[in-house]
Amino acid sequence: MARKMTGAEMVMQTLVDQGIEHVFGYPGGAVLPIYDALFKRNDVQHLLVRHEQGAVHAAEGYARSTGKVGVVLVTSGPGATNAVTGLTDALMDSIPIVCLTGQVPTHLIGNDAFQECDTVGITRPCTKHNYLVKSIEDLPRVLHEAFYVASSGRPGPVVVDIPKDIQFAEGTYENHSNVPHKTYKPRAKGDKQAIREAVELMINAKKPMFYTGGGVINSGPVASKLLRTLVKMTGYPITQTLMGLGAFPSSSDQFLGMLGMHGTYEANMAMHDCDVMICVGARFDDRITGRVDAFSPNSKKIHIDIDPSSVNKNIAVDIPIIGDVAFVLEEMVKVWRARNPELDKKAHKQWWKQIEKWRARNCLKYDQPKDSIMPQYAIERLYALTKDRDTYITTEVGQHQMWAAQFYGFEEPNRWMTSGGLGTMGYGLPAAVGVQVAHPDSLVIDIAGEASVLMTMQEMSTAVQYNLPIKIFILNNEYLGMVRQWQELSHGGRYSQSYSEALPDFVKLAEAYGGVGIRAEKPDELDDAIKEMISVDRPVLFDCRVNKVANCFPMIPSGEAHNKMLLADEVDEENIENAISDEGKVLV
């Protein structure tokens, strides 16, 4: 039904019509009319962050943990530029975000006006799509289109830049949420012939391997269920990427752990030696492949992805299937059942025997001394004490992130929020804010490093303001740990600028924000401290003082093949020096 209203009111009405209940934002001159429209209604809750980057990460956490679109509202100029890191993060990890930015009035655009920047120019490469709305007639369609583009196909961030005069202008609003898009129509259903060929290849495999990623989670809970059905039906081994953890339960015997640079030995070896690889919603990223010319050289590769540009980008595949994971897996399960295949049990038994040998290498083993907490141990204890609760985990970026991925077990999708593609330090705390907003009664923990968390520490204030009892579990080793590890591996142990000098007292810092600070320094204090953290119903900064020199293993040294992993018990000073070739040192 068409109604007269102002542009600002249209923004609010669109949010309501799209079923949006929460917006993360920060006001400023160029969005005041929208904030005024917000003030006049009470069906959308606004969460005031302390920095626009935090708003986008919070919206990402919200989106990832619910499957809904996360909404951000910021002002022009610095409001928009501060959001750029979050937008890029969402683009890399395919997170649906709609970011509304204020803009100077249309007659001032291009005049270097106060708080003006070329928002669509700046955000063009870091969004899935963006719009500058120059006429009130276009606004309702563009707003609804933004939600459609953000959430359909391969999800991603969309920016709508709205000049202030358009926010004041009056026009006719119509709900465009069901109007089909002119050009953007992603394919959802995979080619049936390709699916049949893929199933045939899977049936005849002697050394099969599932390799699944974030696409399964983005496709929704049905996709995770279908993946479980298919993997169980086949009995084949499976590994998941960092982004894919939780789609398949980590407690299953068929799960070989995460793969990639800091994945398990068994997962990477099985990927290298398999004869049929079934890639589901993953993108052969460089953290997974290692040296591309040595990546899984003898396998036939099936690749299911909704984005055609992900196919044959890094690795040439044999059977590409373009479509939504849920649709394709449903069809695969159907075809497999109808085929009721006789599998090569002998070959599979042999394959599992080989995998068990790799597993027995026990690649995540570490020694826990009496006097200092090993970071791996801290995560193992955190997992043991929280796994039976309704728990969501976010992380920052670095060693702690990899340890969390290795040692925290995920049984369900949408429970694990981490910055995979962009690797954004400072992601975890605001993301936890967003997750807690969506799940007020759940236990939300940000597994953090002391360096990362300081990048967006101000969002503690947001958590306190809205009574969001997030738990920031800091593995404090007083180093930019991953930087230090790489300096050890490729720069002769010269720790240039990687020591976290002049750290705050995190317990006092928590108290200063109005939260609760807890510290653990010895292994025997850890369990009680974690239990205390869980029992507190307020935001907590947990300063977990861990071993300062622990490194994250196993590791595919950069530039190496994925079956040439460096294992913790092989590491000594000499092979640390020689682990990375000169060619590898150039890589990141």
């Binding site: 120019g121 490469p125 799509h129 050009t183 010319d293 055609p308 540009s309």
Partner: protein, 170 residues
Amino acid sequence: MKTEITEQHTMSVLVDNEPGVLARVIGLFSGRGYNIDSLTVSETEHEKHLSRITIVTTGTPMVLEQIKNQLERLVPVHNVIDLTVKGRSLERELALIKVAGKGEKRVEALRLAEAFRARVIDASTEHFVFELTGRTSKLDQFLALMIPLGLVETSRTGVGAIGRGPEPME
């Protein structure tokens, strides 16, 4: 690293004629490190707000597949045709060429222009401006001949391309 053989392909991109669409296409090429050998753009169907971008690019077969898929992923793009893969496409380019000189050189320039079917669109006793249409290779050849005869300035449109036969681009 093994070096793969690169190929030159011509792609036609049908886009919604909206602000910033060319910037999206160019930004994609610069951001991902693809080559642009030639690029032309103009509105082709005013009522439907459609523009056609013709891009000549060079890359390995895998990169060329990427370019097509990345272009198709852009929201305002209707479709992308790799005319080189389809084969037998028509490609033409137009050049405006200024040649200055006197005497025998001037006469020779005019003679060659006639041989290449270039038109004279401006002239004085000391110069010609030629208009020449043809494949890129023909233009290159003519320009090479003009250098010793007093070539002073060139303006080229870049390649426009279209498939043969009665069907439109699909």
